[in-house]
Symmetry: C2
Subunit: 276 residues, 2 copies
């Protein structure tokens, strides 16, 4: 999926919602545990009820890996299910990978070829040759960590560098040499809304993947006020606030309702910013 298609999907669905799929075996409704593939069953039902309101799904690999080879198979099935039934929805493998070149190339093969994810989250610490193996695939995206939503973000990401910038700003600037708005997005946490203005000065065009709304306490209104560009340029993620809104038989229905609530807020924001 390219930049224009993603921007068009946002206008068409009046939504920039990304639904995070974090299927924790200890949190999913108990009645699913008797099924052979409870993580996939959980995700499949969430996908069906939330798809009308979302432009992206973000399966978090950690929650699948924790169930071993079967979990990995359920991750593959989840991605294939989205691809088959909702081909217009962007699939972000939230994997936070990144290694020396030959190893990053293997990860790219995993997520872009063995699976058919459209995007993968990548950590920047190891620099250019750990990231560029992901950028050579047509219509596929790197989502590079810039400013994350957690408290640990303050340990290194805000370090002031002698050149006068902070580390997350250096990551943004350097990485612009590794790709373009067509294959590079950035993770910027909703809990750091006040920094979106600085970030937009460096990367005015790129899409930003924004976790941290909901359970982590970020504000949708503030994120949009400072982070939105003329193509929207945002994918705002909610995971726990949607998928665990109910832990009962009605979990998928309630997830759909929570997704719709967010989509309605987003529709209003898009309208008031004349993005339609």
């Amino acid at each position: 999926m390219n930049y224009t298609q993603l921007a068009q999907n946002i206008k068409k669905k009046k939504s920039f919602l990304c639904v995070g799929l974090d299927p924790d075996i200890k949190k999913i409704p108990k009645h699913l545990l008797s099924e052979k593939e409870p993580l996939f069953s959980f995700c499949r039902q969430i996908i069906d009820t939330t798809a009308p309101f979302a432009v992206a799904f973000k399966p978090n690999t950690a929650f699948f890996e924790a169930e071993g080879a079967s979990g990995w198979q359920q991750l593959e099935k989840t991605i294939a299910y989205i691809k088959t039934n909702y081909p217009e929805i962007l699939i972000i493998a939230d994997a936070k990978r990144g290694d020396i070149g030959n190893t990053s190339a293997m990860y790219a093969r995993t997520f872009f070829q063995t699976m058919q994810a459209d995007a993968v989250t990548v950590a920047p610490y190891m620099g250019s040759d750990s990231v560029t193996p992901f950028t050579g695939f047509d219509g596929k995206w790197v989502v590079l960590l810039a400013l994350t939503s957690n408290n640990g973000a303050f340990d290194f990401q805000f370090s002031e560098i002698k050149s006068g910038e902070r580390l997350f700003e250096k990551v943004l600037k350097e990485s612009m040499n590794w790709g373009s708005k067509e294959n590079m997005m950035y993770v910027v946490g909703a809990t750091k809304a006040e920094y979106f203005k600085d970030i937009r000065k460096i990367v005015p065009q790129n899409f930003l993947l924004v976790p941290g709304v909901g359970a982590q306490g970020g504000s949708l209104a503030q994120v949009c006020q400072y982070g939105m560009n003329e193509n929207c340029g945002l994918l705002v993620n909610s995971s726990r606030g949607i998928i665990y809104a109910s832990g009962d038989l009605d979990f998928a229905k309630i997830a759909g309702e929570k997704a719709e609530e967010l989509q309605k807020e987003m529709s209003e924001i898009l309208r008031s910013n004349s993005i339609n």
Copy 2:
């Protein structure tokens, strides 16, 4: 495995060799491809011939993941095979993980409980709460990226911070608050041997996992000159130089010979440093 046990194993085996298991389906000997589990078969045979000369094995998750769920299963089997047959050898899952707290906790569950790895490599960019979920397991280790062996290391890791230190030094200093020499090692590339002196000033005791000898061009002698402490304190990794030394029927035998060559060099270095 705790610090003392690891240090003792090094003395006993007169080796600080870590054998990196990077089973690339496109590089392993062709005769293995007709087997049902070629990656596991390849690793198992390498493990058997190199185990006498090694104190650690480092399966690289990327190469297994690229083969999908079956690859993941072969990773689990590889780790279980080492655990069963060579329980005195440290198993480092080279996964370069790291995410917000609840997600890192899932990765820790994956590698320390679902599998039985002893250690996992972790990227520091997301800070303390992305790393500490890995440090709460008795006898298990975080191997934190500090100074990596690739060229991309120069993009951010050497950034000079206003406080006067470089980013990799800040990572070392900060992370000392998150664990101890009993549960925290650091990745320091052999290609950056001249920095080992600075690094040892900050972390004199911790084990360092040193990739980059062999295919990547690092020098074992230099690494030891600047990086060794009184307990050795080094695990020097070789992957491609051992496992792909022959691509033929004799691959495992030749891998064993390459491992033995390195072990002999290491034995000599240990002896000349009175570590025995």
